[in-house]
């Protein structure tokens, strides 16, 4: 499982890949993200778990600099967000597929590659191999299944080999077999130093993360490895743990 044993906040020697300090985002009276502070170490997979509407996507958007915080700040790889320059080092897989349905798979990859300044066919071929879509290279995206589009969406986020990856519900609509492959690949990337933040409301994916952050009503209610959270809640079941720690989540298996 976890390649590093260190739980909780990273040790002082390695600078954190991602930092958030007092992050707040309000929409009118709604506090979508409510005073979130954490440090995430490089080369680890962090799971943002929480029910729909708990603020996971807004938190990711704040970290990626796609929206300005109402208060507080976020930092990625030592650079305060938002920073356009820094986006070259960040991969972002949106909750919507965010791919061009009138174009072919190859054209989508070529486009996002060009936008990130990536040359040649090799990065596109590598990204396609990861998501197992090489045989659909020339297919129009509109003709692909929902799961295949999800895979292309992931490939587009990987094309520039970013050291930080934000994946917003990456496995929705992906069949179980490929889901296993996705997670195996996330692990490979993390082992190579990539910091990955995955949001999910699927509990059985939680144990694949090095650390979990339970999010509810915009707050991080609990943080730790799966083991730690189970121990703290006094239950062997993560779902139960989540409920006991305050997140009465509708759980999907």
């Amino acid at each position: 499982m976890a390649s590093q044993a260190a739980p909780g906040a990273p040790s002082g020697s390695v600078p954190p890949a991602i930092r958030a300090s007092g992050l707040v985002k309000t929409f009118g009276t709604l506090r979508a993200v409510d005073d979130v502070t954490f440090e995430l170490a490089p080369g680890r997979i962090y799971g943002l778990l929480g029910p729909n509407g708990s603020g996971k996507t807004t938190l990711i958007r704040l970290l990626a600099g796609l929206t300005l915080p109402t208060a507080g700040w976020a930092e990625v790889l030592g650079t305060r967000m938002p920073s356009r320059q820094n986006l070259e080092r960040i991969g972002y897989m949106t909750q919507a597929d965010g791919v061009y349905t009138a174009l072919t798979v190859a054209e989508n990859l070529r486009f996002f590659g060009a936008v990130y300044g990536v040359d040649g066919d090799e990065p596109a071929a590598a990204a396609l191999a990861v998501v197992d879509l090489a045989d659909r290279r020339e297919s129009i995206v509109g003709t692909l299944s929902g799961g295949q589009r999800r895979r292309l969406s992931l490939a587009c986020a990987l094309i520039h080999r970013p050291p930080v990856l934000f994946l917003d519900e990456p496995t929705v609509g992906v069949d179980p077999l490929l889901r296993v492959e996705f997670w195996a690949h996330f692990r490979t990337l993390a082992d190579a130093g990539t910091t990955i933040v995955v949001s999910s409301h699927v509990m059985d994916e939680a144990d694949r993360c090095d650390e979990l952050l339970f999010v509810r009503s915009g707050r991080v209610l609990a943080r730790g490895t799966g083991q730690e959270i189970r121990a703290r809640a006094g239950t062997a079941d993560l779902e139960q743990a989540f409920l006991r720690l305050g997140g009465d989540v509708a759980v999907t298996r």
């Binding site: 600099g65 796609l66 920073s83 972002y92 597929d97 009138a102 174009l103 060009a114 990130y116 300044g117």
Partner: protein, 381 residues
């Protein structure tokens, strides 16, 4: 601004349009179909058939008029018959036996002028106005014949071009401008809305792309197709290819054959500037739409006033003075004027009026490009 990213967006937009066959058809075939139809209607509409029923209620004096007017009408191709009273005339018009009733008024005090009252159905004002005009012309002729003095002929000459009877030479420049504006707006608006709602804009904003690069890429992509559309439309408007009769098929000609006195390239420049503004307008307005239907719903608010206030149908000079300030801010107005300057006046770049049109169109395009970029929300500085 990265050239590479702009080119990437341009190529992507162009590839999307190229794949979208129905939109391509809309872009090229629809304007040709509509301008062709309008031209056919305006050029080949038939003169109204006048069936007149004349009632004389003015005794002997009236009889002279009745005879002279009847002769003049018949000379002009009208069918004329006489009835005894107004009621009979009205009945004939009501059951479509006649198109106009002409009542020659009763003898009042001796020496008072006769009145002629023309009665029509009242259902089709435009068609009936043509009938009344025919009666008026016949009355003039009749008066001239009766008095022995020929009314003066009014000759018309113009500073630019010739006062041809071809209404298309005035209409074609306006319609070329309007169609370029209309289709570019619709296609950009819908396309950018998809970008907003499909999640691709969100993803694009998570890349190093700037808003300016997005607007420029879009402008180039849609600008390319607008340019081809305008080129095709101008060729269609100016061209005239005669196809001789073949077997049972009558001879016909392809193209509107509009006379152009200026450089087609200048006309082209005017429309391209207009189209560039339309791209940004589409991006800007897509901010306020949630669905593709809503982009279409902006047409009555944004495009219809331009159509009415830019001299496409109604000459700008005849519009109510209270609307004139609105006319002054309609981008299409400057394009239509610029195109007429080129088509009819044969203006070149040295003509102040054309210079003004081009400058205004360029400023409008720059203005909308700026606000379009601002609506592409990103907090990244």
């Amino acid at each position: 601004m990265s050239r590479r990213r702009v080119v990437a967006i341009f190529r992507r937009v162009a590839a999307e349009i190229r794949r979208d066959r129905p939109s391509l058809a809309l872009l090229f075939i629809a304007p040709i179909l509509i301008t062709g139809l309008v031209t056919f209607i305006l050029r080949d509409s038939q003169a109204p058939q006048v069936t007149a029923i004349v009632v004389n209620m003015a005794g002997v004096r009236g009889q002279l008029v009745q005879t002279a007017l009847g002769a003049a009408l018949q000379h002009g191709g009208a069918i004329v018959s006489d009835v005894a009273d107004q009621a009979a005339a009205r009945a004939a018009i009501a059951d479509s036996g006649a198109t106009v009733g002409i009542v020659i008024g009763t003898d009042g005090a001796s020496g008072s002028p006769l009145t002629i009252t023309v009665i029509t159905n009242g259902i089709d004002p435009a068609g009936e106005a043509a009938q009344v005009a025919t009666v008026q012309r016949a009355a003039l002729t009749a008066a001239g014949n009766a008095s022995g003095t020929v009314p003066p002929a009014i000759l018309h000459t113009t500073l630019y071009g010739t006062p041809s009877d071809d209404p298309i030479s005035n209409f074609a420049p306006a319609i070329v401008g309007f169609f370029a504006y209309f289709f570019v707006y619709i296609l950009t608006g819908v396309s950018f809305l998809r970008e907003r709602t499909g999640g691709t804009l969100e993803r694009l904003m998570a890349t190093p792309v700037t808003r300016g690069e997005v607007v420029l890429g879009y402008t180039l992509g849609f600008g390319l197709f607008a340019t081809i559309q305008v080129a095709v439309l101008i060729l269609w408007a100016l061209g005239s290819l005669h196809v001789p009769a073949l077997g049972p098929l009558p001879a016909f000609s392809v193209g509107l054959g509009v006379a152009v006195n200026g450089s087609p390239l200048l006309a082209f420049l005017v429309v391209v500037l207009l189209a560039v503004g339309a791209v940004s307008l589409g991006i800007f307005l897509s901010t306020f739409a949630r669905t593709e239907l809503q982009v279409i719903q902006f047409i009555p608010i944004v495009l219809a006033p331009q159509f009415l206030l830019s001299g496409v149908l109604f000459p700008v000079s005849t519009l109510p003075s209270i609307l004139q300030p609105l006319v002054a801010i309609m981008p299409l107005n400057y394009a239509v004027d610029g195109l007429r300057q080129v088509f009819i006046r044969g203006a070149d770049l040295g003509v102040a009026a054309l210079q003004l049109d081009l400058v205004v169109l360029a400023v409008v395009a720059a203005f909308f490009a700026t606000i379009a970029a601002l609506t592409i929300r990103r907090d990244v500085v």
